[in-house]
Amino acid sequence: MLQRIRERISPTDVVMWLIGGGLMFMVVWGSIATLIKGTYTTRHWIDFVIFGLAQGSVYALIATGYTMVYGVLRMINFAHGEVFMSGPYTAYFVAAYFYRNDFLEAQPILCLGVIFLVSMAVSVTIAFFLERIAYRPLRGAPRLIPLITAIGASFFLQYLFRGLYGSSFQAYPDIPMLEGHWVIAGIRILKFQAVVIVAAVMLMFALYSFVMKSRIGKAIRSVSEDKEASALMGIDVDKMISMTFVVGGAAAGAAGVLYAIMFKQVHFFMGFIPGIKAFTAAVLGGIGNIPGAMLGGIFLGLVESVGPSLFLDGLGIVAPYQLKDAIAFTMLVMVLIFRPTGFLGERLAVKKA
């Protein structure tokens, strides 16, 4: 009996379980200690949660792009963070123009609409040409090659935008309509955060219904499952792959404006960290699975926002918020070790790659 157990469990497993167990213990212990210490009041926690939801829903929107492209091409589009950056960075100039001419105060909804459209249009264009120029010629090449190309394209786009718009941070203009806060059911919520959450949820809903219900969406799902069979049904596979990039680009462009509304600045490097975080979110949720990516994004946003104070403050760590990225990526590593398919992921063994 004991021997059989010993044969089945390798020393690596034991080490992994020890690390996992240790981390779990730290999290639980840290949380209890923080709650006993009582540095934070309920209102703080509510603020953390709302901020986490806002940030997480932006991650979720970006993550859908990673996951859909993975679905159709089985590759990680590492330039997706730059697709996300290109939109709001370009739309910044529109926003600044509106601000200088006081349109932003007079017609805030119209202006926001235009900013969104410009941002989405730019991101869609970049995503479309990225696939056409950088990825399509490599279809059928070994999987490592498009991956390296994606990293190259990512740098190319970063420095293209640096060259075009300069290397400084640009401050997104304040939108007067989104200043201040509302009180909903006794909870104080910053207006811009509420708007970001609502807009992101609406966009996710629209994207999900598009993929599930529309003719193009169904064809994208068919192509994800079996390209050859899709072609035999008369589906133009290349066109559907382009459409996937277009849909993902639109989501990223919209997410970019929401991000700019939240953090009030744009920069040529702004896509890198959210891009990696959204990729993490897509893996957390199960890469290839759209609801999974959304769930993963919101979960990651929440943990990043609530986690540092909850897990680390009680352990006596000073300025725990600086460690939010460490928490996010530790979570990625843990998920890859203990549940490589993510929350909602399909079993990779069944799927033919």
């Binding site: 064809a219 799902r221 068919s222 499952e225 069979a229 899709s230 035999l232 049904m233 008369g234 589906i235």
Partner: protein, 236 residues
């Protein structure tokens, strides 16, 4: 002039010369079968016809219209639709969504509804299961779905690749009864099959493929009597 004319095609897999000067004709309303052992090139022949593989030489024509250089979805638009080997239904989509994908090239909803009704009449089982995820269907039902999906555009020529593969004998009979039904309704069919006995029963003519070449072509009756065919493919 035959409806579908495959003339002298040579197809390669990398360095492997998979099809050597293969010519096959299918007349309108006819069921023609290609029989041959595993690896003889039967599926390669259908994949080349559907445009998934490009022949290095030779030509493929439908009613004298050149298909050879067209991409697969364009060939479907011309009216040549394949039911691939191993069914290849979209397992995560529902039965109805699978059928919708079969009609992807046609946006005329009236026409689609008519074709859908025809397919559901042919396979009433699919109607009962229309909301079910296709991956949960039984093997026989999946084959029905694969055929129904291909019939959604009312193709001029239907290419069937090993429809009996992996099915229980009872279900094989069902599938062949359906092929007969389709033939009676006037569908032109090119059938690739390892089960030569059944194939020769539904077909009017047949080709025997051996390591990439057509070694014999005759009416189904004569092929059934042929010494070589009987020995090699009918197991007598």
């Amino acid at each position: 002039m035959a409806m579908l004319e495959v003339e002298g095609i040579h197809t390669y897999y990398g360095l492997i010369h998979a099809l050597k000067d293969v010519s096959v004709n299918v007349e309108e309303g006819e069921v023609v079968t290609i029989i041959g052992a595993n690896g003889a090139g039967k599926s390669t022949m259908l994949k080349t016809t559907s445009g998934l593989l490009k022949p290095r030489k030779g030509s493929i024509r439908l009613n004298d219209e050149e298909l050879t250089q067209l991409r697969p979805h364009k060939i479907v638009e011309k009216g040549v639709v394949q039911v691939p080997e191993g069914r290849r239904i979209f397992g995560t989509l529902t039965v109805m969504e699978n059928l919708d994908m079969g009609a992807f090239i046609c946006t005329n909803s009236q026409k689609n509804k008519k074709n859908l009704n025809r397919v559901l009449e042919l396979f009433p089982r699919l109607k009962e299961r229309s909301k079910q995820v296709a991956g949960t269907l039984s093997g026989g039902e999946q084959q029905m779905l694969a055929m129904g999906r291909a019939l959604m555009t009312n193709p001029k020529v239907l290419l069937l690749d090993e429809p009996s593969m992996g099915l229980a004998p009872v279900l094989v009979d069902d599938i062949f009864a359906t092929i007969r039904q389709l033939h009676d309704a006037g569908t032109t069919i090119l059938l690739v099959e390892q089960n030569a006995r059944l194939a020769l029963q539904v077909a009017s003519r047949g080709y025997v493929l051996q390591s990439g070449s057509v070694v014999l072509s005759d009416t189904a009756e004569n092929l059934e009597k042929n010494e070589m065919v009987r020995e090699a493919y009918l197991g007598e």
